[in-house]
Amino acid sequence: MELKLADYKSDLAPDWCPGCGDYGILSALQTALFKLGIEPSNAVMVSGIGCSAKTVHYAATYGVHTLHGRPLPVAQGVKLANPELTVVAMAGDGDGMGIGAGHFVGAGRRNPDLLYLIFNNEVYGMTKGQASPTLELGAQPKSLARPNLQSKVNPLMLAFAAGFTFIARGYAYDVKNLARLIQQGIEHKGLAMIDVLQPCPTYNNLHTREWFAPRVYDVGAEGHDPRVPREMSDAERAERMARFTALAIEWGERIPTGVFWQAELPSFEERLGAFLPGYPETAPATRRAGGEAERARALMRGLRVAE
């Protein structure tokens, strides 16, 4: 049976505020899955806590709505146990860059084959607009009693430092380009991160749709090539890193979107496969039942007093 875009939509009506950027991200996600022809039951969406976390309930795939800060560990558990699944993890900026930042670094070091979306609106929306880790120092959206006293973290630079192999930025109201980015992120072999600029119409009156619209531009359209193949020379690699950094820190009159960095590195599944006999074919969620006693007996044999 031919899949339709509607097959990726659940029966539940989203309860986000009118004008929320999350609508755009949901729509882009569904479009990307549809365009890739991924069976809904082969896709698992994993979220944290907050407005962004509800996204998984509106997609007609498997949806796992976890704890605050923990979508990445849960997503990795699902993916490593059953590597045949398409797994997309998603988190708000507080979820991903604050309470879950340790997992961001840990996942980067492993490079599992999944996509991570950061819904970046610079505030904690669900708890009424506190400053998130991506809010600029000194900024004071209307919900804050005093200007933000903490500097912002740059998700792109952090992703680079942690070893993410696909680093991109999207804009929630540019659904077409965002869907394309999500498609690329899913197809990328390894850990992909898309920092999605997502205006919060209710609490962030500084970075609104009107503020972003004239600023965002597509780096691909301006000729940026993000690819960093394995066999690249050190000098070329250093040049790519410098270009990546320039894009990652550009913020103000012009705000770049698109794929900034795409490197080749063995995925965690490939690294495991070198040590676990038969993996990923023998992955723990998909291997055939049986053989447990034999495996336990193999351990026991190694502990015998005498041969």
């Binding site: 558990g77 490593l80 006999p277 969620a285 007996r297 005498a306």
Partner: protein, 622 residues
């Protein structure tokens, strides 16, 4: 060893002490294996500091004609590889026992022992008459207690023995452990062939090293005369017996029940289990070391949602970080096993010492109400059975199971008969039959609260999972009636689990007719049973702490004693909560050292003689 209290050489304990990182663990393994090859039932316990190199560490190797699970305070032979061992273990060799020491260190003053901390220095100095006594004063004390000191300069002996087979001084130093073991076994008159076979097997991967150590052992046997009463003999053959500790057994039980995924963050003493599985890919377990315990528990939950059998190991500090996710597994009805290796708390506490201080925490960790099972292992045999059972309970009832272990079980290695692996039947759980479309994963029409399971990723199916309260397909709800129904459905699993287990699996009793019953849980069983031999006492080992067994009838009209390793009597409080009975005597220990047979026996005798108060603290141990 003519003056030994028990019949000679039926039951023998060898202690080796020295600096951490100096290889005494290898020495103990060699000694234990050599005896095990001669048919002895061996148990070895390990005491060590939270340190890599230099601090005092020791192992007791007990060999007996029957399996044993506990240790004596006083040993038959103490092999002191350094001067600190000599002074730390004053009064811990039996009258008639033997002390092997290096005479070179005798004149060293106590203050020159760099790793002797202030508290121990003060205690030992006072015991030896005050001031800054030389180490040889300790020798006089051993002699006065009827112990026979045997001066044996092990380092020169190693140089000589290794030199005789053509090795240089540096290589000779590396054979010191073999020399210590060979010297001890030669003194005891135990045949060389068992040590020889042990060395060949131990160093099988390095033929050159094996050859050197075997030659050195033979040289030592040539140079060390057996004691007059040294007649330690082989008593049989080991057959298929295995030599393993609680970490091995717990890993093996989980594998037998289908373990496929384990994530971990390093922590003492829980990491030996995943580390062991990591080293044995033939066990078929995907082991992932992660960034913290939050990642460990949530990754295992993710793997379990996808259909893998998943488990974790951790210790108190790590378990504290897992508390939120335990509730996540609870509300999402995800099978999860956590083997909690208790160590001295609170906070970092005593990282390398034993305790049962996490019982209340295991029972209550996490916010809100959700069903869980908590069971505790008493021995390596239990660790195998319980780990397998925990996996099966988690799978069948779709809930978190906390499997309580402790440092004593983790680091006590024993010779046992091989486990009956075929007795473990991996439980497939309640599996959904041909699910299709939007699937009610949390169906309220569930028998015993258990809704049929179809893993995330099942083709042609879809549902949602959320840490929020949810409806049958897993969407968020705040509906009051649905909330009640879901809470009641989940809670119902505990009653179903209790019924499935049956009362016989929840506790076991020895001598139930006795007027006084001792109750314990976890690793106290071994020492309690041995300490009460011949006394008019019964013993109840409570295996399940949640759900708690129905003990009212058994306990009726009996005097009750609770024995446990924590300060506040956590089990005693649980007993009162569950049965309305407070123990008449509470015997506790919290200095981080294992209970000795002598001190537990004395405490039991005091109870029976009417000399015991309501609260006894056991204080033995170095």
């Amino acid at each position: 060893m003519g003056g030994m209290e028990r019949p000679k050489l039926d039951d023998f304990t060898w202690r080796v002490g020295g600096p951490q990182g100096g290889g005494i663990e290898t020495a103990a393994t060699l000694f234990a294996q050599a005896l095990a090859r001669g048919g002895w039932w061996v148990s070895a316990r390990r005491e060590y500091h939270s340190n890599i190199m230099g601090r005092h560490s020791y192992l007791d190797v007990r060999a007996a004609r029957r399996p044993t699970r506990a240790f004596f305070e006083r040993v038959d032979l103490l092999a002191a590889l350094d001067a600190e061992t000599l002074v730390r273990h004053l009064d811990e060799v039996k009258p008639g026992g033997v002390l092997v020491y290096d005479p070179g260190a005798a004149r060293t003053p106590l203050s020159k022992l760099a790793m002797l901390d202030g508290a121990a220095y003060g205690r030992i100095s006072a015991a030896l008459g005050g001031g800054d006594p030389p180490v040889e004063k300790a020798l006089a004390r051993y002699r006065d207690a009827g112990v026979r000191p045997v001066p044996l300069a092990l380092t020169p002996l190693a140089r000589e023995a290794a030199g005789a087979v053509g090795a240089d001084a540096l290589t000779a130093r590396k054979t010191l452990n073999t020399v210590a073991v060979a010297a001890s076994l030669a003194l005891l008159g135990y045949p060389l062939e068992f040590l020889d076979a042990t060395l060949a097997a131990q160093f099988a991967a390095k033929p050159g090293v094996a050859e050197l150590n075997r030659k050195v052992a033979a040289e030592v046997y040539r140079r060390v005369e057996p004691l007059e009463d040294g007649k330690l003999e082989p008593i049989g053959t080991p057959g298929g017996r295995v030599y393993l500790n609680g970490s091995h057994a717990s890993a093996m039980g989980k594998v037998a029940a289908g373990l496929g995924f384990m994530s971990y963050y390093p922590i003492t003493p829980a990491t030996d289990e995943p580390f062991y599985l990591e080293a044995h890919p033939e066990a078929g377990v995907l082991v992932v070391q992660v960034e913290d315990e939050l990642a460990a528990v949530n990754m295992a939950i993710g793997a379990s949602m996808a259909g893998a059998r998943a488990a974790l190991t951790t210790s108190g500090p790590g378990f504290a970080l897992m508390a939120e996710a335990l509730g996540f597994a609870g509300i999402t009805e995800t099978p999860l096993v956590v083997s909690l290796y208790q160590r001295g708390g609170p906070s970092t506490g005593l990282p390398t010492r034993t305790e049962q201080g996490d019982l209340r925490f295991a029972l209550g960790a996490g916010h809100g109400d959700y069903p869980r099972a908590v069971l505790a292992s008493a021995s390596v045999e239990d660790a195998f059975t319980d780990a397998a059972l925990a996996m099966n309970l988690a799978a069948r009832f779709q809930l978190p199971v906390v499997h309580l272990m402790d440092k004593y079980l983790a680091s006590t290695t024993r010779v046992v008969e091989p486990f009956d692996i075929d007795s473990v039947e991996p439980d497939p759980g309640v599996v959904a039959e041909a699910p299709e479309g939007v699937f009610p994963r949390f169906s309220l029409a569930a028998e015993g609260g258990v809704s049929p399971f179809a893993p995330v990723g099942t083709p042609g199916v879809g549902y949602w999972i959320t840490s929020d309260e949810h409806d049958e397909v897993g969407h968020i709800t705040e509906d009051p009636e649905l909330r009640e129904a879901m809470m009641e459905k989940r809670a119902a699993k505990l009653a179903a689990l209790r019924e499935w287990l049956g009362p016989g699996a929840m506790y076991r009793v020895q001598n139930p007719e006795a007027g006084t019953l001792v109750l314990g849980w976890g690793s106290t069983e071994g020492v309690a049973l041995e300490a009460m031999e011949g006394l008019d006492l019964g013993y109840v080992q409570v295996r399940f702490l949640l759900p708690f067994p129905d003990l009212e009838t058994l306990l009726e009209g009996r005097r009750l004693v609770v024995l446990e390793y924590n300060q506040s009597g956590q089990f005693a409080r649980l007993l009162a909560q569950e049965t309305g009975r407070r123990p008449d005597h509470l015997i506790v220990k919290y200095n981080g050292r294992p209970m000795t047979i002598e001190e537990v026996r004395a405490a039991f005798e005091a109870v029976l003689n009417g000399e015991a108060g309501a609260h006894t603290v056991l204080r033995a141990g170095v």
